[in-house]
Symmetry: D3
Subunit: 160 residues, 6 copies
Amino acid sequence: MKNTTAVYPGTFDPFTRGHEDLVRRAVDMFDRIIVAVAASAGKGPLFSLDERVDIIAEVLQEFADRIEVTPFTGLLADFAHRRGANVMVRGLRAVTDFEYEMQMASINRKLAPDLETVFFTPTEQYTFLSASVVREIARFGGDVSAFVHPTVIARLQRKF
Amino acid sequence: MKNTTAVYPGTFDPFTRGHEDLVRRAVDMFDRIIVAVAASAGKGPLFSLDERVDIIAEVLQEFADRIEVTPFTGLLADFAHRRGANVMVRGLRAVTDFEYEMQMASINRKLAPDLETVFFTPTEQYTFLSASVVREIARFGGDVSAFVHPTVIARLQRKF
Amino acid sequence: MKNTTAVYPGTFDPFTRGHEDLVRRAVDMFDRIIVAVAASAGKGPLFSLDERVDIIAEVLQEFADRIEVTPFTGLLADFAHRRGANVMVRGLRAVTDFEYEMQMASINRKLAPDLETVFFTPTEQYTFLSASVVREIARFGGDVSAFVHPTVIARLQRKF
Amino acid sequence: MKNTTAVYPGTFDPFTRGHEDLVRRAVDMFDRIIVAVAASAGKGPLFSLDERVDIIAEVLQEFADRIEVTPFTGLLADFAHRRGANVMVRGLRAVTDFEYEMQMASINRKLAPDLETVFFTPTEQYTFLSASVVREIARFGGDVSAFVHPTVIARLQRKF
Amino acid sequence: MKNTTAVYPGTFDPFTRGHEDLVRRAVDMFDRIIVAVAASAGKGPLFSLDERVDIIAEVLQEFADRIEVTPFTGLLADFAHRRGANVMVRGLRAVTDFEYEMQMASINRKLAPDLETVFFTPTEQYTFLSASVVREIARFGGDVSAFVHPTVIARLQRKF
Amino acid sequence: MKNTTAVYPGTFDPFTRGHEDLVRRAVDMFDRIIVAVAASAGKGPLFSLDERVDIIAEVLQEFADRIEVTPFTGLLADFAHRRGANVMVRGLRAVTDFEYEMQMASINRKLAPDLETVFFTPTEQYTFLSASVVREIARFGGDVSAFVHPTVIARLQRKF
């Protein structure tokens, strides 16, 4: 039997139903998953890095024995190597995603030849869902309950 | 530990270095791989279905204990179900591929909810390689040795 | 108030839940819709042209006062002109669709300057649905009840 | 006869010949059009929000009885609902546009089920025209008279 | 000074205003251009290979000292090598084109390392023009005078 | 014989093996190439404009008689015109590139009708290489020696 550790990196600001859907699909394929939460590239994230790690751990608590949620900085290839991951998991929704992901998979293959990138596609209902859109709707006070877990809603309500 | 059986379907007319590269990437991620060879949709395939199964088995013989090569007809979702596969493996090279693959992954999810599709991307040197181009070059007597395994070359020479 | 007649052309082999969804979206925007059913370009259509016209009329019978279903041949621009249509309605699902549709909209604008093409997008659950996939599943005896109206299912059962 | 109010949202910094072309195509299809001008996301817009509203009203003054030009903030779905719009009008030029637009149409459908998004495509001569390119050329003092209405040119000359 | 011979391959069934536009752009960049006309892949071409060679020669007769029009079969890389061409010229209109062209350029680079592929883009008015659409309109008796040279029109009239 | 001067514009922060590959392909096709280095749009470039000009001149010194490296500001069409260039050279890697490049080629054709844009595609090994990715890896102290010339490496080491 294989021993596979997959890293699933992202900013997850916020963690959407689409991210959650991907983890639920991947959890039976790998022995262990590390959700690696990156600092936000944009100026004003909706949630701080710590809040995001907390939220994801709460949403995925039923898998706590197999899924670890942790912040990371630096190069993903280095992080994966340090943590013994041999698989990188990414979601693919759109053509624009696709080209960026092809580029990153190619670069990571050069930086970390033992780390293989595999892609999952979301259920249709999450095909057009993105964290940036959820963020924008939340900032205008719109209803995002169809897009995120109740844990995220509760945190948002404390914020606004 | 997981028990994962992946099906890798295709026409493989011929099996290229790109297909081979994908199998070599996937072989350590899953417990077992079934290479499922479909009848060719086009009129004049380069190799018959039997020849293609033979060629692939020969190219992948070092993995004979973990990889099975077999012809299939009918719906892939049914085939995967009968064979106990829980993963479908596909290669992604280009945007045009991508949309067709998204469509098939979505349809297969409806037909076989337990079968999860995951995508691999090829090494750059195989990004622009396709079986149809190899077929065309071979028919005009061009040199395809950079694109296929020596086993395929030997079979082609017997043909022409 | 405007007086708008929209033509919605297609092969509709078969008419899917995606096509039906589009018509339901368009029916309140235009005064009248003509569903124009083209002869199939492929060799073996699932349903004959007459059968397809019948099926669509049956599926859309609740709108019979505002929607006409009719076969057509020749240039769409000519057909639209003869029938007094000033709008062409098309569905957009994928990037590959998109470029073909841009091309056709551009050509039709040259052939029929008074005919304006507008595009609708399907509900997510139909984003990856296409008549060709339904056709293929039906031919292998797979279950297509999630993709088409019961009228189509009934007709298929009489066929196979 | 239908009673259709369409909202056409955008930043319009500046309003180009492509935007104008779209409005001229849409004006005969809907009873009323609201051009909804958003605050610019970027730091230094070419024209202030007020200037943009003025310019567009001037360019479209021949349709003043059927077209309203107004600033808006907040969620577009809310704005459309408050104003009784049942159609959202968007232009589609390129594949990159297309995916973003599919995403927004999908999200808006969830936020406002009664608001239907339809897409128009520009005349070929405006296919590659974008407000950001016009802005860049204008800033370097290049000639933008092929890309915008004389009203915009006049305003630019007062600026530089 | 460079000595450049460019080959411009295609089926050209028929030679459109878009093809002509590309040649007019390329003629001043290279010392010599060989328009290489391929046998049609489809069953029923509009014009025979000989007719197509004649038509193109007639349309481009003003450049007869620098442009040669000739049929070709077999591998393009071999043809280019035999004729001493060091440049391959291709037109790019759409994303779908683009991926196929990337693939061919990559394969040809492997088969003929001295042959460099360069791409031209058409004037906007020809962005959505394709030989297959012209062929379809011509077959239905539609007006193609905006899309092809009068020479092609004259030939079509003799045909129908 | 033609007299062709090509301008190859870019930010080149840093100049990658992909940029270098393109110049080596283009150098035999044109009489003269001007590498036009633009000020970086982003806030913190890896190298200053002067450094970038120096690096590129050093990397391409073997072609010093035919290639000039120079900074530029303002509109590219104006720059090309002032310098007597009749060709603009651009690299095409991905679909996302492609649409932006089509737009720029179209706009530049309007601003400078005598300047023809031609596109080159990179060797596969550089298909997924971009300056922004190199920049990011370099900032995290990752190994970029597969992606840039030793000259760039030496400069980076002096920096960090």
